[in-house]
Each structure stands twice: as structure tokens, then as C-alpha cells.
Amino acid sequence: MERPLTRYIHPDGSPRLLREYVKDGGYRSLHGLAAGMGPKDLQRLVGESGLRGRGGGGFPTGNKWSFVPMGPDASKPKYIVANADEMEPGTFKDRILMEGDPHGLVEGMLMAGYALDAEVGYIFLRGEYHRSAQRLTQAIAEAYAEGYLGKPLPGTTFRFDLHLHASAGRYICGEETALLNALEGKRAIPRAKPPYPQTAGLWGQPTIVQNVETLYNLPHIVNHGSAWYHNLSRSNDGGTKIYGISGRVTHPGWWELPLGTTARELLEQHAGGMFHGVSFRGLLPGGASTAFLTEEHLDLPMDFSSIPPQVGRLGTGTMIVLDDQTCPVGFVLNLEKFFARESCGWCTPCREGLPWVARILESFEEGRATDDDLALLDMHAELLGPGHTFCALAPGAMAPLQSALKYFRDDFVRHISMGRCPWSNKPAQLRVLV
């Protein structure tokens, strides 16, 4: 089985630096460019490959690129930004790549820059990833010294500069337009769209913001072609995916597998099933802002096109497992507290609604909830959903809540009827009527 992204990554977590990276075929994609592959050729290749954005949205990369103005009249400079603000709870795939193979990101960004004729790149890295920062800094310095950056690439007139920007926290920075504000040194508040970043992004210039894992795929597509890349997957979406599993499973971890691997295979074969003595109840397929999948969905291929929209979406592909010893209401409460804290506060429904949701869920856990509270949760799941807020943060927060209310409703009801959390040893509270 081909693992183009992680094949050479050291199991001990030590980084691969320039010499080793080049020895194993790194920066070979530059030969392709030198041999006459033009920006349009590269764009077409990526479109044909079926590559879709790995940051959670799953937007076809070729389509995304098609909105960038090209040609002599295009506004300059154009920017490529790597979204390395990996803060989606449960997600750790980009860290594995950046720590293990920092040059892969440099090469991926070179390819994206060349395809879009964008001469400057930024890696927007979350502030907590100190090890990634150190290794990327070293990789960028090596790439400059070697002439991959800062000089015209052999056989072309294209020259690319790349900078690392370490951020200072806040989940909302991962939203692409909030990220652009953060990169401009402002508060990370999402921007109104349109205009889209492709035409007016960083400092008003054409900009592509792309997830780290997506960028790592580009050199392999250049080296091996779109058909090869497409065939790596078991589904209509091309390539492999770095999947991960955390929670009470025997072997939590990550694996690069064909896109379209089923949740059951991941859970049972790769993660070794559940811990001894606990059983499976559900999972979030790709971070905190995806809807629960349950037993009935385990045979669905985990890709961008096989999960029906009314069921959920793949998200980042790093799964969080809910077991029978963990309270589903407490689980969702943890998620909603996270979203309430991380809301940027710009739009009212999100700023006020998310803390409200968290307080209601707290009342369930503390045994104070009534049937009215359950109705309030249903209402919020609807009113904070898509179309009611400025960006996707609150709708993302509602995905696990709404699906939990559907699949684990009995558990919510038991909190009300027992007057306490059934998973807690604390006694029921006296209900004081006022």
C-alpha cells in the first residue's frame, strides 16, 4: 500500500532534514517544472487528481484554484498561505507531517506558488506547535541555502519566498479569513465573503489558503501524475488520508490509508478496537465540529463524498470515540464549552448562544434540567445552525449537539428523570422550586 505522505517519516519522531529528504526523492517535483510543466499544466493536473482540501471542508483544490486571477493583468503580489493552525479538537495529523517531514511543506508550497504564479508564501502556524516551528524554521533556512527559495527555480523564471508566522492562540484563526486578519496583525475575526480570498485576500491581494496536508500532496501529484494519485484512493476523491483515532481505544494513533477506508476498519483493525471492558457508542469522524456517527454508519467509506450530508461530514478525518463509560451529555458539554470560549465574539448568535448552550448542558450534568431545557437545546441546534451566524464556528458547534440529541436522546432524558448524571457518583440534587 502506497503511503506517499508519510512513507519516510521516522517512527521515533525525529525530523528528516534536507540531505535525507532529497536522497529519498524530495524536491524531485522541481525537475518536472524544469522539464516544461507550466502553471496551467499543474493546475489541470491537480484538478484531474481529485485532490480535495484536507482541512475539513473537502473543497476540490482544482476548483478553488480556478478563481485565482492569472495572466499578466493579475494583481501582484499573490500569496499562498499554509493553514497550519491545527486546533480542531481531536486533530493532530498536520503536526505529524510538519514535525516529521518539514521539507514536504516547503516543497508543497513551492508547487502551489508555481501553479498560481504567487511569489510569496506564509506558513500560519499555531503558537503551541513549538517543535514544528523549530523544524520548519530549519527547513526554510536549508531551502534558502540550497536555492529552492529566494532564487529562480531551475529552468523557469519563477522565484518564491516563504516565511513562517507563529500565531498566539485562538481556534478561530483556523477560519481562512480570520486567519488572514491574524496574519495582518489584527484581531482574528472572520471577514465577510465575498470577496473571496482568491481575489482579495491578504492585504487585499489574491490569496490561496490551503491546509497543510493538502499541500503535502502536491509534489506527489507532480511526480506521479493525476491517474496514479487518483487510484491511491478507494473512492471518487483522490489520494490517501491521514486518519487518526483518539479516545478509549486499544491503540490510539494515526495511519495514512487510502481515502475511503471505512470507520470500522480504522476502529477495529488499526486502533485495535475498544479498551477491554468498554464498548463503542459513537464517534466524531473529524474533529469537534462534525456530527456523530454510530454503529449503523461504521461501514461508510470515510471520504468527502460517501457520507450523506444529512448524516454528517468527514471533517479532518481524525476521529474521537465515545464509549459507554463516558456520558454523552458531558462529552457534548466539553465540546460546547470549547466553542463558547473560542468564539471570536463578533456576531451575537455565536457569542451569546454558545455560552447559553453550555449552561443548559451544565444543568443536565448537575441534575437541574427539565423538559423545557431539552426543547431549548433543540431550538439552539436549529438557530445556531448554518445560515444564522457570520461564520461556520457556531454551525460547526451545533453538529455534534444536534446529532447527540438525535442518537443519545434517551441519555438526555435520563439526566432529567434521575435528577443527576447517570455516569456520575454524585447524588441527585434536591430540586428547589422558586
Partner: protein
């Protein structure tokens, strides 16, 4: 006044941006690295250097959780409280820190050695629960291991 080293580092960072203001977050992080936190005076030093108002810089400083507008201890322990760490027992780790060092989230030990703060998913979910002290991440933390880990930071 910014020190020469701070000024030098900041000028270096500004080379990467077409606009000086873009360096505001870098500036806050550079100054905080040596001074520990961002006092009002530090804030104004940065504002002056970047040609911004103090309020402008403060609106940025107060937005980002890794920028401290209050003094913190010599070391900062960030406890990941996101979902995977919550499932795997972050609350027991937090309780152990409270018991042993008498500090909860947002507090600093009386000797000024350690501040404990919550943090969004640290991205080490396969080794949950995780915590980060200064720049070092520890995975599979148990209440029993807390003291051994923290004792490395004097």
C-alpha cells in the same frame, strides 16, 4: 523602551511583511519572551515602535490567549481541556495540580514559580491527556506523573 535585542528581533520579523502593523503579534510575543508578560508600559513601547495607538495594540493583545496581560509565574503549565483529554482524564490531572501546588486554572503558586492555564486541544490526542509546560509537551499524563514532570521546572 524596547531593548536593543527586542528592537533587532522585531526589525527582523517586520522584514516578512509589507506593512508594519502586521508585526503587532510578533512584537507582543518577542517582548513577552523576555519580560514574561505584557505590562502597560511594554504595550506602549510596542505601540510607539509600530506607529499604532496603545488601545490598538491592546485590542490585539487581549484577543490572543498566548499573550499575557497579567504577570504569570516563571513557568506556565497549559492543561489541554479539549475532548480527547477530557475523556482520558484531564480532570484528575487538574485535581492533582490543585492538591499538590494549591493552584487551579488561572492561578499562580505563591512563590511565583508556576501558573496553570487551560488550553485548547494541543494536538497530541493520541497521547491524551496532554499538557505543555513552557514549550515542552507531555503526553499520557497521569496524576502520579504530575509531580515528576513539574519538578523539572524550578
Amino acid at each position: 523602551m524596547l531593548t536593543d535585542i527586542e528592537r533587532h528581533e522585531l526589525e527582523d520579523a517586520l522584514k516578512h511583511y509589507p506593512d508594519k502593523r502586521a508585526g503587532a503579534i510578533d512584537a507582543l510575543l518577542i517582548v513577552q519572551r523576555r519580560r514574561g508578560w505584557i505590562s502597560d508600559d511594554s504595550l506602549l513601547d510596542i505601540a510607539q515602535f509600530l506607529g499604532m495607538t496603545g488601545d490598538d495594540v491592546d485590542s490585539i493583545a487581549t484577543f490572543y490567549n498566548l499573550i499575557f496581560r497579567k504577570p504569570v509565574g516563571r513557568h506556565v503549565a497549559f492543561l489541554c481541556d479539549s475532548i480527547s483529554c477530557w475523556i482520558m482524564g484531564y480532570e484528575q490531572v487538574r485535581a492533582q495540580i490543585k492538591k499538590h501546588y494549591d493552584i487551579d486554572l488561572g492561578q499562580t503558586t505563591r512563590d511565583g514559580r508556576l501558573t496553570c492555564l487551560p488550553i485548547a486541544c494541543l494536538g497530541h490526542c493520541e497521547r491524551a491527556p496532554a499538557m505543555m509546560i513552557d514549550q515542552d509537551v507531555y503526553g499520557n499524563v497521569t496524576p502520579e506523573k504530575v509531580e515528576t514532570i513539574v519538578e523539572k521546572y524550578k
